[in-house]
Each structure stands twice: as structure tokens, then as C-alpha cells.
Amino acid sequence: MSRKTLTRRQFVAATAMSSTALIAAPYVRGAYAAGKLSIGFWDHWVPGANKASTDLVNEWAAKEKVEVSIDYITSQGNKNLVTIAAEAQAKSGHDILAMPTWWPHANANYIEPVNDIMDSIIKENGAVNDTVKYLGQANGKWLGIPACIGSQIKGPCSRIDLMKKFANIDVQAMYPAGGPPKADNWTLDTFLKAAEACHKGGNPFGIGLGMTSDSVDSAGAFFSAFGADLVNAKGDVTVKNDNVRQALEFYKKLIPLLPPDVAAWDDASNNKWLVSGKGAMIMNPPSAWAVAKRDAPQVAEQCWTHGFPAGPKGRFAPYLPYFWTTWNFSKNKEAAKSLLVHLSKPSSIEKCVVASGGYDLPAFEKLTTLKVWAEEGPPKGTLFHYPNPYNHQKLSIAASPAPPKIAQQIYAQGTLTKMALKYAQGEKMEDVLAWAEGECEGFMRS
């Protein structure tokens, strides 16, 4: 038996060849050759909507040979926020995690930038709105990919019949299905008159003034319509200005026209108000209408989702985007980014929007005119203007344009709704402003 000795030269050559072969050769993979990927998606309100994301992930996983596991994390009781905080503390968790609004910025130090994929996604799907840029970017880095799942506009959802009967406003004519809005007269003055008429008619508007998201978002849009910023983009406290005073005066007129218990409302209260048939208008994504379709079809048939009234500084609608983020301690960042690209393809986004019955909103400008919004009903076209197809209103978030870490405090503490309530309950204007100024100064800590 002869024994061949391996020279140093032969060894180096063999190593180099085998390395080249491994890198350049056709990708021969077994099952799950590309490793594991864990995903934490937001648990959808709409029954069956989670299935669309599961199918999309499985389709990608089968192609890429990745073993995936998905957790659907509810936002009930802020379970998703607790999960985000826990994973950031533990430096361990899902490879992809859905984060709402402020949380990418709050965890920016632990997040993997996704500029490398975001640029190509924008090229394919169109530009994103300013609120997505404000919430999703830090120092030029994209912190996450805007997720259509869970993203929403909380615009007015009006009762067609009650608005006609009491306020003499035809919301369908103002926001016609299939056509651009004819809503130049839909201003805050018209809104107040309509609120008064519906209040007198026994079907008041249902706009919360609690500390939960729906109440704060509505207040944010009304404050923005007056240009009432508590803190400007540079981080200076600007509470004591006439725009804020005007916004508080507006709320002082509005609050007596709302149900007496709005200070205690949470995010379910306005939905119940509409579904019960008591309310002529609420500010909400189409989830309330979807529940009415199931529980009170006669109410759902009269619902029409449309744009916000315009104020002296423009027309603003509350917009809450979700982001899909990857931790910088994630074990499979490449696979995570590959999946995010797959989920952001126009066909994937359309699947999710359809599965959610039109609830989910893509952040990209080329994807605001999908068929589903024109076709959903009854009444047909009720959601046509929900995704802001004509850029008729500016999508914004309460407390912007303050730097996101300060704005998050203003938002979480419900400073805007508290100011409105304090002033409406009889506190002096300057005392309310001084209180808010003190609060905002406290939010500056870093």
C-alpha cells in the first residue's frame, strides 16, 4: 500500500480550491440550510388576517430553506411594548420584531440599520410619507421597514344618515367613492357646527379625551391643524404660543358637545359608541366599521370613512405606522433582511391589505390605490378615501415635530388631551400652558 505525502504547496492549493468551490459553486442546500429565523408579528385584530403573513413567511421560508417560527404578539394591555422592552434588556429575542410608532427610535441603539434594503424597496413601491421618515429614520439610518400590517389612519368615520339629518352634510358627496375629495368646506368651523347639530339631535360625535392612543391621536391632528406644537423640531419648548391657545379654545367649544364621560374613554369606547348606533362620528381606522358589519349591520351600512377637517394651518390626519425591525444582536440578520424584502413586495403587501379587509395601510405612495378599498362595503366605497389616495390631508402623529424621544413622552403622558381637559374644566389658560411647559421641560431628560 503506497502512501502519498501532501506537500505544503499542494495543501495550500487544495484549500484555496475547495474554498472557491464552496463560495462560487451552485448553492446546494438541504432543508433549513440557511438557519433559523424567529419573527414577532403584531397580532391582528381582524380575524384571519394573521394567516396572510403566515403564508407569505412560509412561502419565503420554503424557497430560502430557512426554519421559521412566528409569534403573534398582541397589543392588548401593551403586551408588545413589554416584549420590546424585555428583548432590548435581555439583548436576545426575535430576529424580526414589529414595533409601533415611537419604539424604533426608543431602541435605536440596539437596532440594525436597514438602508441597504430600504432604498430598493422605496424604488419599487414609491416614496414614504413624512411621518414614516420622522419615526423610522435616525441620523440618516433607516431603523426599520414600514410594515403595512397594523399601520393605520385614524380619520373620521361618520354616519351618512345622521350627518345628513342633523348637520345637513352629505359625507359621500364630500368624499365620493372613486373620485377626488370635494371637501374645501370641510373645515374645523364646519366640524364644530356639525358636532353641535348632532349633539342637539341626540347623536353626539364620540371623540375620546383619555390618555390612550385614539384620544391622543385625535388631539394631535386637531392641534396640528392649528400649528400648535408644544416642542419644535429643534427640541425647544414652544408651549406658550397663540396657536396652542387657539387649539385649546377649539377644544373648549368641542368638549361640551361630546358625551359627558369622554375623559374616561379608552380605545374601545369610541368603537362601542359607533357600533351602538349612538354616535354620528368617531375618529378610528375601519375596525369599528368592521365590528359593526358583524354586530350591527344596519349601522355599518351607514358608515363612511373620510378625511379630517382642515384648520388654519392645514388638514392633518392621525397616522400610526408599524415597523419591522431587526435587533443588532439578531443571529440571522441576512435572512431577516431577505424576508423583509419579500414581505415588502407589492404583491405581498396587497395580500396583507386584502386579508385585513382594508385595515392595513402601506406606507408607500404607489400602493394607496389598491382595489380592495374601492370594493369593500357595505356601503360600497366606504373605505375608498381611507388610505388618503389623493394626498388630500397630511399624515401626522401627535406631538410631532418634536424630536421623537421627547415627542414619545408627550404622547405617552397624553399631555395634549390633559391640556384640553384642564382648560375646558375651568383652569386658566396661562395656568394650563405653564403646567404643560413644566411637563415638556421634564420630558427633555436624556
Binding site: L81, A85, A264, K272, Q408, A412, R445
Partner: protein, 312 residues
């Protein structure tokens, strides 16, 4: 006694086997065995209680971005905040009022139950314990529906008497009343069952002697029942005070701290600041604020109980 016997036996053994026998002795030693048996619990407490407590102490000393050590800076910041002092005031009102009423109602109901003939007593005890046995998150949800801003069952009932509608959760004083009421409803049965156990352990001879001395109903309670129940009252009150100060679920579900922060207590405000506001160090500081105060109260109350125990 057993320890001494084991100790004497070991002396008689030769030095060659001393090492082995000392191990055997250690195992035979009652305190060693006791320690080994409690070790799993000690480990559990260390992992689930001690570590989080130390970690939250550590968190409370960090800046908002958690990148630098600020010592007591978070507490200094809190002391300057109006809302923080509002939370301190409300937590004290919430805990002290609720504990007083729980103790009072528990004491009265325990007497009623104690006086029910033994045959029917068990079912009353069981029924009265129901509020304490149901998971608080569930029962508080039921209360939320009763207090619901727009569809309150209470208001519906009161409307037949031309009363209301009462803003149970929409107006500060009513909201405070509502959260305290629910806390009392859930917690009073615990006091009742503890006091009932204490009442049953008071010897009948003492009441007989008091009756012979001509003591009336009030004197029997004041000079016999209360002194005999002193330790159990102290322990129950301390325990309940700690648990009530740390309450989260009732306020979170009913009002989430509103309206206008008027029902926030330490735990709910810590959650608001720490989790919803992404300021975990400040949230940790809020939740730790009561710890030294309650710890000092606990030391005094437990020392008093020890003293009385020794006197006995």
C-alpha cells in the same frame, strides 16, 4: 437534643474515620438537612426575587438612555415633578383607605360568620371568599363593565330611581372612589378569613370570665378579642398594606391612571413612564420609591410582634 446526641457519638470514633464521619455528621445535622431542603426555594427566590430587585436598583441609577451612571439623579428628578407627588399622595390615599376599610369590613363580617352555627358556616365562608379567589384581572373587568362610561349597569339601575348618571370613572373623585371600592371588594375576604381564624383561637374561658366580671359586648371586644387578635391584625395589615401599595391590575384596568392622572398609583405610573414612555430607569425609580418606607414599617411591625411573642 438530637444534635447533642449526634455530637457525643462522633467524639468516640477514631481519627482515621473522622473525615468521613464529619460529612455524615453534617448530613445528620438537623440544620444542614433543613438548609439543603430549603435550597431549591432559596435558589428560586434568589433568581426570581433577589436578582430582579438588585437589577431594578441598578436600573434606577442609570440615565434615560441607560448609558451612564447617575446615582440618585433619577430620584432628584422625580422629587421636582408635580405628577410624582400627585402619585405619592394618591398611592397613600388608595392604600391607607383601602386597608382601613378592608380591615373594618373583614372584622365585622368575621364576627357575623363566627356567630353562624357551625353547620351552615362553611358555605358562608366559601361564598364570602369568592371575590378574593377570582383572579383580580377578571373580576376587575366585570367591574369595568359595571362602571362603563357609556353603558354602566349601575347607572342603568340608578336611572329607575331618577339618580345619575354617575361618572364612575370619568370624574376624579368618583374614579378614586371606584378603584378603592374594587380593591376593598377583592381584599376584604382575606381579612375576614384571617380574623375568623384568630377569633376561633380565642379561648371561650376568657369570654366566660369576662361575662362573670360583668363585661358588656363592647368590653369583651376591647379587652378580650382585640388583644388576642393583635398579632394577626398587625401581620394582616402589614401584608395588605404592602400588596395594596404595589397594586397594578385594578387601576390599570379601570382607569389606566386617568382622568388627568388622578388615579395613578406607583405601579401604574411606573408602567406608564417606564414601558409606554421608554424611560425604564425612571420607571424603576418610581417603583422603588416606596420600598424603603415599607421596609421600615415592616421592621417596626414585625419587631413589635416578636416582642409580644417573647412576652407571651
Amino acid at each position: 437534643m438530637a444534635d447533642v446526641v449526634v455530637g457525643q457519638a462522633s467524639v468516640t470514633r477514631s481519627t482515621g474515620v473522622r473525615k468521613r464521619s464529619s460529612l455524615r455528621n453534617a448530613v445528620k445535622h438537623k440544620s444542614t438537612v433543613a438548609f439543603l431542603m430549603t435550597l431549591p426555594l432559596i435558589v428560586l427566590i434568589a433568581v426570581l426575587v433577589l436578582y430582579p430587585a438588585v437589577y431594578s436598583l441598578h436600573l434606577a441609577t442609570l440615565s434615560k438612555s441607560m448609558t451612564k451612571f447617575v446615582g440618585l439623579g433619577n430620584f432628584q428628578f422625580l422629587f421636582k415633578r408635580e405628577t410624582f407627588w400627585l402619585v405619592v399622595e394618591q398611592s397613600c390615599i388608595f392604600a391607607i383607605t383601602a386597608v382601613i376599610f378592608k380591615a373594618l369590613i373583614g372584622f365585622i363580617v368575621a364576627h357575623f360568620v363566627h356567630n353562624i352555627p357551625a353547620k351552615g358556616q362553611r358555605k358562608w365562608r366559601g361564598m364570602l371568599l369568592v371575590p378574593w379567589v377570582i383572579p383580580p384581572a377578571m373580576s376587575t373587568l366585570a367591574w369595568l363593565w359595571l362602571f362603563d362610561p357609556s353603558y354602566s349597569a349601575f347607572n342603568y339601575t340608578l336611572s329607575f330611581l331618577n339618580i345619575g348618571p354617575v361618572p364612575w370613572l370619568g370624574e376624579a373623585s368618583w374614579a378614586r372612589f371606584s378603584v378603592i371600592l374594587v380593591n376593598i371588594w377583592i381584599g376584604a375576604p382575606f381579612f375576614m378569613i384571617m380574623y375568623l381564624a384568630a377569633l376561633k383561637s380565642v379561648p371561650d374561658q376568657l369570654y366566660e370570665a369576662a361575662a362573670i366580671d360583668g363585661a358588656n359586648w363592647w368590653q369583651r371586644i376591647w379587652y378580650v378579642t382585640l388583644p388576642m387578635m393583635r398579632n394577626i391584625i398587625a401581620i394582616t395589615t402589614l401584608f395588605s398594606l404592602i400588596v395594596t401599595f404595589a397594586n397594578f391590575d385594578i387601576v390599570r384596568i379601570l382607569t389606566a391612571g386617568g382622568p388627568l392622572d388622578q388615579t395613578h398609583i406607583f405601579a401604574t405610573w411606573a408602567f406608564k413612564v417606564g414601558i409606554e414612555g421608554s424611560d425604564i430607569p425612571l420607571g424603576a425609580s418610581v417603583s422603588l420609591f416606596m420600598f424603603p418606607i415599607l421596609a421600615i414599617a415592616a421592621i417596626f411591625i414585625l419587631r413589635d410582634i416578636n416582642k409580644r411573642g417573647n412576652e407571651a
